[in-house]
Symmetry: C2
């Protein structure tokens, strides 16, 4: 299944459409989280040299300058570079921020200088759509100091089963008309390509599993080619299993800041313009609480267009695959394993209690 999401022919001219940038800037969690990740770390940024890969309007570069960076290389391949220059001038940072109108792959820094940190907002739908991370990895290998920092530092894709009542539930009795046929065709139609939509957290049917954990400080482009996760999860309630919900988190470095800053695009977080990516099932399955839901998700870079990924969902028989330990499903083996583990924990606790009790008995002696 190849996601049929828009990637314009001319990738770099698409970013010249200001409307896209307006939507991204107005994405409150996105802009605020980057701002926090940078401005909460003023002690770190003071006098640092930074590169902003794909700077767009230049707002992240300005945050870095505001945080005290002494030099920011703001690299932008599209004509938006000219707008970034204007905005930077408007904010009087033209002496600190240098806009480089170029693909980062073609950039040469004076005297082969290395930068202390790379900031970039490179994430696409389901994290990897648009493949901009490749350029960030390239920039890291060429321009980042050995111990340099990446903003963000880590990225994780999560996957969980879900229902999508907003899509399907109204059709049985719609304005006095029965439209289950419409619903059936809609389901079949939508199972051919992933849907970008906002899932409510109450519509998640089980715990999420991580598809990957990308460490931006050392991942290679090849490592981004292919991901696979096979998973079983016990349903967290009775419901209609209608799809697999995919989202991502980006984690920023914990430096001078006291709290870890995370950009979470999942159903539980404030909605972002990325929403979630949902692979919809052609046929729904009614599941009971604790019933095991087993699936395999493959995410492979497209052979022809490296900015695309093919997503493949395979429904598995929970009887035939290995369950995590512990597993919250209601299959006999998992109930047994859980019971044994519980007993072992209890035993261990009892043992510790005995040890603690002896310690307590000995204490008065110490006090004397």
């Amino acid at each position: 299944m190849e996601p049929n999401l828009p990637i314009p022919d001319n990738y770099f001219s698409s970013y010249e459409d200001l409307e896209i940038h307006r939507l991204m800037l107005e994405d409150e969690p996105r802009t605020s989280t980057y701002r926090k990740a940078i401005l909460n770390n003023k002690e770190y940024f003071k006098d640092k040299v930074v590169m902003d890969v794909g700077c767009g309007t230049g707002i992240l570069s300005i945050f870095c300058a505001q945080a005290g960076a002494k030099k920011v290389y703001a690299v932008e391949a599209s004509n938006l570079a000219n707008l970034a220059k204007e905005i930077i001038k408007e904010n009087k940072y033209e002496n600190i921020i240098e806009v480089i109108h170029s693909k980062v792959e073609d950039v040469l820094l004076p005297s082969n200088i290395k930068v202390d940190a790379i900031v970039s907002e490179w994430m696409g739908f389901y994290l990897l759509h648009e493949g901009m991370l490749d350029s960030v990895v390239f920039a890291r290998d060429k321009f980042l100091k050995e111990d340099g920092e990446m903003f963000p530092q880590n990225a994780v894709i999560y996957v969980a089963p879900c229902s999508v009542p907003n899509l399907y539930e109204k059709w049985e009795e719609f304005h006095g008309v029965t439209m289950s046929t419409f619903s059936k065709h809609l389901r079949s139609d939508k199972s051919h390509k992933p849907e970008i939509m906002q899932i409510r957290s109450v519509d998640l049917l089980g715990e999420e599993v991580a598809l990957n954990w990308i460490n931006l400080r050392d991942c290679t482009v090849e490592e981004l080619d292919s991901y696979c996760v096979q998973h079983v999860v016990g349903a967290n309630k009775n419901g209609r299993y209608q799809g697999i919900c995919i989202w991502f988190e980006c984690i920023f470095p914990e430096l001078s800041s006291e709290e870890r800053v995370i950009l979470n695009t999942g159903p539980i977080a404030e909605p972002t313009h990325w929403k979630q990516t949902v692979i919809l099932l052609p046929d729904e399955q009614r599941v009971e609480e604790k019933e095991p839901i087993a699936f395999k998700l493959d995410m492979n870079r497209d052979g022809k267009n490296s900015r695309r990924y093919n997503l493949q969902l395979t429904l598995l028989d929970p009887e035939e695959i290995e369950h995590p330990v512990p597993c919250c499903c209601d299959m006999t083996k998992c109930i047994l394993i859980n019971a044994v583990m519980k007993q072992q924990v209890k035993h261990a606790m009892d043992q510790r209690q005995i040890v603690n009790d002896s310690v307590l008995e000995e204490e008065p002696i110490d006090d004397e």
Copy 2:
């Protein structure tokens, strides 16, 4: 200025995308208004023969059958005709509703039968985008009885000056960054093509004016080629004049129903999937309450693609054009005209009072 809105190459296959139909069906004002216009007129529809032009999923045909029609010809050019058949069968109306998988231009009805009513949901953005009304007019001329009814019966396009604070107002101080340059470019960018967006009624800067009044019972295709309105309106408050907001209303026949049913897609009504079409100005103008705003709007069918219209907004000098009488603007001539008119009304009222008084004086005489 040619609106750069999506009209797919293959117009009839685009409607096979169920997602479009989902959005249209889920448009609550749209679906409810058609349902009300039809089901409130059961006395009218009883035993009537109806044609549904561009029936899509067939929901309007089903409303007609529910309202008592004895026969509905549901014409649909796209493959959606097959889905309509299934939905109609699911609702057990296959004996009343006959789906005809064809362009309406190619339809032949048995023994050249004429229909009592035509129902159709043919409206596009700013009413005429997609040009489906041409097919409805064709169907009317070929299939509707002399005294037949059109659902809807009339359509009107309204135009009013507006501001769009959601687009422009946040950029002066955006997350601690000055982005007026971004705002300036956004404005210039957006003035090249109309924007489909929801305007809040508080953001209208003056009374709307009707661009046209289309009577579906007698309009010709040629009459739909070109519309023009020249207008002056006094601003209803101090504000930023940033664009011209265009919307439409469809009015359904008043038959057995007690109330006139109207589908209003304006800023004051419940939002629909049509939203409003806004022509944005490259430069905003600050206006004071009662300051005259003068403009001319031309809407002309595109020479090459008859499903498109070119919208042209011309800002006019309020000094140089004729104002409506009365006009609420603060130009001397309008204030004078209003004062004269007020005096005339007062004079007329006084005269009537004198007459009334004499009648009252005479009454006792009558009573004797």
